[in-house]
Amino acid sequence: MMVKSTDHGGAAPNVALDKFYRLYAAIGFLPIMLVGLIVLFAIFVPHFLVLPNVLNVLRSSSYLVILAVGQMLVLMVGGFDLSVGAVVALTSVSSALVMASLKGQMTDQPALIILIGVLAGLGCGFLVGLVNGLCVAFLSVSPFMVSLGTASIATGSALLLTNGIPVYGMPVGYVDGFGRGLWFKLPSAVYLAIAIVAIVFVLQNFTRMGRYIVAIGGNLQAAIVSGVPTRFYLVATYALCSVFASISGLALTAQIGSGQAAINSQLTLESIAAAVIAGVSLKGGVGKVEMVALGALFLLILTNAMDLLTIDPRIQTIFLGVIVVLAVALDELSTRSTRRV
């Protein structure tokens, strides 16, 4: 990595500043800003750094972390997945419907009911991802348009299945034990998020697929010429992204306690924002999973602090927008300064 050579005009270099600059260039601005914010909020925001609130932030950011990690993989292969929010809704509805309908027939087997319901939800997610991937890889359709279309199909299906009525009747253990449960004092969704971040970390850094994803996103033609099975890996990436969205949907459904067709219209854009804040390039080929997890955490911490400060939600949305623009601009500046010699 090249570090910007500062032009001191012959004066002695400011060592401390230079050290900070090297650190900044090495790890990016996000972790520094996150630590700064946490310190700031701990001092100035009442109820911020107390255990119930920390658990609250960790829980609510887990769903977005899982989604954003999937979104990152798709962004890295130079694509877009606008269907993740719709997949969350479809997973929510299908898994809850399957569990509720089996409940009457298999009263004494809650574990099996949960397993079949979870598999039904994951199956829906996998199917949507497969369609996205196949269209992008084999038809070379714009991922933007394909995932917009599949989002519409998934949302419509979820509404058709439910009639707009929340689906109740999931096994009590699924809602209380998993959705609202604490495992070793942490919300269950946090473990899911950590596991997925760990899996993708290994995938990115130690597997062929991780290298191929970077190659495909960096230069598709070059990857094809080099003999990378690009189509297979494109389909796999989109399928993985949708399956992650399904996992997020399953956790969210268990937490809410009912299957919902209108679960959250903002999740898709939030997942893209979290990834881009974390330095994932919209042009493809660049992204680190650990940063994306921090990006999602960053968004949720901001929202939580603003809620605790009881800031008007309309101002909150403006502020979040400013933060996103600022983060992307700063990140672009830092990468430029490291590229310049």
């Binding site: 829980r59 609510s60 009639n163 707009g164 937490q255 809410i256 067709a261 959250n264 605790l308 939600p313």
Partner: protein, 355 residues
């Protein structure tokens, strides 16, 4: 068995009679109380429909969407009434409040089709004003329902005041609390939607300035359950002493799980309007209650009004629903068949009159 056939025939006939009797009894939704505004001020009056339509009129219905149980309830109202009166009904839904252009083109479809009357739940009055003028000029009966219309020259209109509904919930809360202290946070719905602000205004009219009530803050947000859940979880942290959660139906729904999780089951939960989840939660004792504007009734009255206009019968030009607060105390006294569709009802988009 010489007598078998007559016995069976008699039994079948009696069963059929009994069934039709129960069907008619269940169908009889009138007299229903509404506000009649034709004299210039709101007068409470009893509404009764015509018994049957004189001929199978063709009625076109336009709804903003069918994505929630509220509009499915309004659908149930128009469908059941069309069946009861013997008229043809075709319904188009625009797919969401963001789809005004779609509703406009659906209005054109109604105009181009062979329809005698158009019932519309307008996405926006300003947006539909020109279409309504065209419809009236073409001699169609144009009836607006549920959503407010103030200036457009519709043949007949029915709506409800959201602030009255909000006020109902506030008055009920004050009555329930007696003089017990309450710390209230509100979750009205999307900022800038108009309806969220109106419900809140009504609620505050009833509770603001009362010595035993502290208003902690108003948390606006998108009306998805997940967004509301986030707002409520953060509010539970920000206001450890919050003991009343008032808001839109998805907020109340999210609150049920959130207070259970936070070990705050003492917190009272109220919704400013109705949906299936609220009714289920009320039956389970998870919420204090919710307000209703009787969407099924409004659907039924819209069909009856259309037929009255077409058959030159007297009709109400401007009506308002009288909202009610539904709580566990009065649940068995209220005709829930005018509040929501039965839970197994699936949206119906067309009714063919039996010839």
């Amino acid at each position: 068995m010489r007598y078998a056939a007559p016995i069976v025939a008699t039994a079948v006939a009696m069963t059929a009679l009994a069934l039709s009797g129960t069907a008619n009894a269940a169908d009889k939704w009138w007299p229903a109380k509404i506000y009649n505004l034709d004299s210039g001020s709101a007068k409470e009056s009893e509404y009764s429909p015509l018994e049957k339509a004189a001929k199978p009129w063709n009625i076109c219905v336009l709804f903003p969407h069918m994505k929630d149980t509220f509009w499915v309830a309004a659908d149930y109202g128009v469908v059941e009434e069309a069946r009861r009166m013997g008229v043809n009904m075709t319904l188009y839904e625009a797919g969401g409040y963001e789809n005004l252009p779609k509703q406009l083109s659906q209005f054109d479809d109604c105009m181009a089709g062979n329809f005698d009357a158009i019932i519309v739940g307008p996405i926006s009055e300003a947006g539909l004003d020109k279409k309504i003028k065209e419809g009236v000029a073409a001699g169609k009966a144009i009836i607006s329902t549920v959503n407010p219309v103030s200036k457009s020259n519709v043949t007949s209109k029915m709506t409800v005041d959201f602030d009255t509904m909000g006020e109902q919930t506030g008055l009920y809360l004050m009555n329930y609390l007696k003089s017990k202290p309450a710390k209230v946070a509100t979750f009205p719905g999307p900022a800038g939607s108009g309806w969220a602000e109106d419900f809140l205004k009504g609620f505050k009219k009833a509770v603001d300035g009362k010595s035993n009530v502290t208003m902690l803050g108003d948390k606006f947000g998108d009306s998805g359950v997940a967004v509301q859940l986030g707002l409520i979880q953060n509010a539970l942290q920000a206001y450890p002493d919050m003991n009343v959660i008032w808001g839109c139906a998805p907020a109340a729904e999210a609150a049920v799980g959130a207070v259970a999780q936070a070990g705050r089951k003492d917190a009272l939960i109220m919704s400013s309007y109705e949906n299936q989840a609220m009714l289920d939660s009320l039956k389970k004792g998870e919420i204090l209650g919710f307000a209703t504007q009787y969407p099924v009734l409004q659907g039924r009255i819209a069909i009856d009004t259309a037929v009255r206009v077409l058959e030159k019968q007297p009709y109400v030009k401007s009506a308002k629903a009288i909202p009610d607060m539904i709580s566990k105390d009065n649940m068995d006294k209220i005709n829930l068949g005018l509040v929501l569709a039965p839970s197994d009802f699936k949206a119906v988009f067309s009714v063919k009159a039996a010839m």
